[in-house]
Structure formats: structure tokens, C-alpha cells
């Protein structure tokens, strides 16, 4: 069991997401940076479906109420285990009563605290993920919360690597994306504006999506669009012309035209961006997207 001494800015429980009920309007949620969540689980010998704590910008202070093996992966935070400074990405053992404190953040936006056996909160519709908008799966962690740990599949720590298989953003990132069919609503010039633009992640960005500040994207065709499914990574364009990048807690369907979709691998990179960071979009092909995904899986396999 662990106890939340200080919750930090926005700390939630996340597993791989609430899949399978989107036809009933249930959002997927899950980690903003799925790759770091998975690496954290692998490092402590967990199945990647185990729940971790997702820490955002300002981390929490956690007290271990049992002898515990844990690791923090993802964004670079100063970490203190009691009086000792510990590195991100290194598996640690904490005795009962020791405290883990997150300090100053130097890169990335989110980190994942994995505990051997996983965070054991009840399943809601098949997932332990917290969806802040609908309240499914729980809420933001608060000081005083106690969470059970250790019921999940857990084996011997298997990963030898200690990092994440992508460059952690330091102030911004270029995200590879695929062109969307709704692009017919935007002429070549507008698509060119999008591809050349440098956007800034707006202050009112959250786990549902990032509001991007930068060049306006004008639609050339304002025929009605019917709402349909909105995967993570979708870049949609509301009438204001300021694009929105949909993230983990997005709604299941949406009616704004889409110009692009960020590829799976780079969705994790996007998850490491904070308000004020820059984003550039670079179009690629579907085969490049799948190759990038395979490369990440191969790296993780080599670390095992």
C-alpha cells in the first residue's frame, strides 16, 4: 500500500485504457505517454496492463506503507527517496515508511511511477484508468489517499535499459503525422500552412486535448460534417481555425473536420509536452508510421 502525502499538480491512476465501450460513449483514457508507462511496468516486472501513477508537471510525495520495488520513467524530475537522490529510470527498493518525493522538472511533462504488482484500484468497465471528465475510474489523487498495490501480474524485473526509446522533448517536439481524409476541406495552401507552422501548446490544454496557438487554418468547404470516432492524435480544426490535438481523455466522437493524425509512436512524445512548448507537424507515410512502431517494439525487446 502507498499513501499520498502531497498529490502534486495532477496525479492519476492509469492503465492501458478503457477499451471496448466507445460505442456507448465511454472514453478510452489511459496514459498520455503509453511508451513510458509500458517501460515503467517492464522495469519492475509488471505486465504492461498494470496500473501506474501518471504524474504531471509537479510531482507528488508518496509514502510506502510496505517494502516496495518501484521505478519512475518518463519526464526528467529530481527524485528523492528519503534523503537520497535517485535517478529516473532506475529500479529502487523502498522499505516500509520511506517517502518518494518528486522535485524540480528538467524535461518532459509527465512521469510514470510503477510499483511491482501494479496499483490496485477497482476496475471500472474493465479498466483502472481515471477519466477526469466523466469521473469513471476515480478522480485526481489527493493528500491522504491510500492505494493498494501489488495484486497484478508481476515477475522478475526484465528490462536492462533504463530510458525511453524516444527523445524526451525539451521545450517542444516535431510530431510525425498522416494526412486525414477531411483534408478535402482544406486546400493545399492551408495544408502547407499547417505543415510549415510552429504551434504553441495553449494554457487551457489538458488530458482531453491540446489547444494549439499559431497560424489559423481556414476551411474551403463548409459542408456539414457528421460526427464520428476521434482517435488519439487526431488534429481537428474548429471554426476558430485554431487546431486541437486530441489526447488520452478525448470524447469518443467529434464533429470538427480533421486535418491530420499524429502517428502512434509520436503520441507518446506529444504526451511529454507541456503548455508553452512548441509543436511542429511533419507528414509521413503509413509505412513509416508502422516502421516507427516496430522500431520501438524492437528496442524494448532488446532491453529485455
Amino acid at each position: 500500500m502507498i499513501r499520498v502525502v502531497d498529490a502534486g499538480l495532477l496525479t492519476t491512476v492509469q492503465d492501458c485504457g478503457r477499451w471496448g465501450s466507445q460505442d456507448l460513449g465511454v472514453p478510452v483514457s489511459g496514459p498520455m505517454d503509453l511508451i513510458s508507462h509500458r517501460v515503467a511496468n517492464m522495469l519492475v516486472g509488471n505486465d504492461s496492463a498494470c496500473a501506474t501513477l501518471e504524474v504531471t508537471l509537479v510531482g507528488p510525495e508518496i509514502e510506502f506503507l510496505a517494502d516496495t520495488m518501484f521505478v519512475v520513467v518518463g519526464g526528467e524530475f529530481e527524485l528523492w527517496l528519503g534523503e537520497d537522490r535517485i535517478p529516473v529510470g532506475s529500479v529502487q527498493f523502498a522499505h516500509h515508511g520511506r517517502r518518494l518525493r518528486f522535485g524540480h522538472r528538467t524535461a518532459g511533462a509527465r512521469a510514470y511511477l510503477a510499483i511491482a504488482g501494479g496499483i490496485d484500484v477497482p476496475f471500472t468497465l474493465g479498466s483502472r484508468s481515471t477519466d477526469l471528465a466523466s469521473g469513471l475510474g476515480g478522480r485526481l489523487l489527493r493528500a491522504g489517499d491510500k492505494l493498494n498495490t501489488g495484486s497484478g501480474e508481476s515477475g522478475t524485473p526484465v528490462l536492462r535499459g533504463n530510458g525511453i526509446p524516444f527523445d524526451l522533448p525539451r521545450g517542444g517536439a516535431t510530431l510525425r503525422c498522416l494526412v486525414e481524409q477531411d483534408v478535402l476541406r482544406f486546400d493545399d495552401e492551408v495544408v502547407g500552412v499547417f505543415a510549415d507552422a510552429t504551434y504553441t501548446v495553449g494554457p487551457d490544454s489538458n488530458r482531453m486535448g491540446y489547444r494549439l496557438i499559431g497560424p489559423k487554418l481556414e476551411q474551403v468547404n463548409s459542408q456539414q460534417v457528421l460526427s464520428n470516432a476521434t482517435p488519439m492524435g487526431t488534429v481537428q480544426v474548429p471554426p476558430s481555425g485554431q487546431p486541437i490535438l486530441l489526447m488520452a481523455d478525448r470524447q469518443t466522437i467529434g464533429g470538427y473536420p480533421r486535418i491530420a493524425s499524429v502517428i502512434s509512436v509520436d503520441q507518446s512524445v506529444a504526451g511529454q509536452l507541456a503548455p508553452g512548448d512548441w509543436i511542429r507537424f511533419e507528414f509521413c507515410s503509413r509505412s513509416e508510421a508502422v516502421e516507427a512502431l516496430i522500431a520501438v517494439e524492437q528496442t524494448l525487446l532488446q532491453w529485455m
Binding site: D23, L24, G25, Q181, L226, N228, T252, I263, I294
Partner: protein, 225 residues
Amino acid sequence: MTSCRQSGWRISMVGDSAIRIDFGALIDPQVSVRVLALAAAVRETGPDGVRDIVPSYSAATIYIDPLLADVDGLWKLLERLAAEPVSRQTSSRDVLVPVHYGGSDGPDLEAVASFANCSVDQVIHLHTAPRYRVYMVGFLPGFPYLGPVDSRIAIPRLANPRLAVPAGSVGIAGVQTGIYPTVAPGGWCLIGRTSVKAFDQDRDPPSLFRPGDFVRFEAVAGSTR
């Protein structure tokens, strides 16, 4: 990557992790029946690597794990299913929804009456008359998109959405009508409120409404007060 037929459907990749088949941007009962039958057939076939199937007005979006799914095989399956006549009838139920119209429960009822140039009683009559089809469930967990609304009361969305629409609110947005299962921001014009619980995470299935169901509204005694 797209493919289409003169019969009016189009298959395309959505990002690297979803495939969509779209039967044309239409809110139409026949199209909806086709979409739901196809979604059910894909679910039944159960191809590897499919993570979620999301029907909407005129399209079904199939979420895949790109490393597990056979995209070409799935593509061919969709082409085959789309070319077949709709033979199956997906299961559907009729749900009666009692509504208290007007007053603080329906703050936009008078505005709808002005829009339609009729009395609030006539608005209630026009809203309770049809047997609405559930075209899709989404936006919020359990939120049913119902239609079509009588064109006389098909009022557009509010210019300034409310920050907090109360749970159970019944609203109109153009030819669509729907029910807010939980408190949420929203731009639909609110005409009444129901005590029916559209979503309950402890119920199986959690959503009262499923795509393909039918809904009738009924004015409860004391409406408009």
C-alpha cells in the same frame, strides 16, 4: 489509402490505428441500419487486433492494434460486408422516456416556441410525437443521439454553450435530440429534464440506450410549470 464503389461507400485509414468505412454524410435510417449491421458483423467475425468498433451516423470506425491486425484482410472484410445486402436485423428495444418540459428544467423551451412560431404546448407535442432512432451513443458516456426532430423545432445550437448542463437534461440541436447523462458543458437547447438514468457504470450494459434502439418521449404531469 482509400477505396470506394459507386454504391456510395468509402474505406479509409484513420491515422495508423483505425480503419473507417463511411456510407456518405447522411443522417438516414437506412444508412444507420447498414452501419450497425456491418459493425455487428465485424464484431461477430472477431478479427485479430481489433480493439474497439465505434458506429456513428454514417460510418463505422474500427480501432486496431497495427502490429496485430491484418489491415489488408480487414479491408477486404469491410469491402465484402459493404457489398452484401443488409440481411441481418440488429437487436433493438423501445425505451419510453418521461420528461418534465419547461420551467427551470427546460430553460430554452420558450426560445424553441419563438423559433417555431408556436406555443410551448405545440413544441411539446412535436417533440413527443416521433419514435426516434438512436443513431449513436457518444460525446459523453451514454449520451444518445436521437433523430430526426420535426424540422419546425429543429433549433440550432446555442451561440454560447452552457458551462454546466444538469444531468437528465433533454436538448435539441438541429434535427438531433438527446439526453445529457451527467453534468457537462453543452450547447444544445434545453427543453426539459428526465429522471431516467441514461448511464450507470454499475449496470450491465452501463448505457440505457444502444445504437439501433428507439426512443419516445412522454410529457409528465405538471410540465411547463
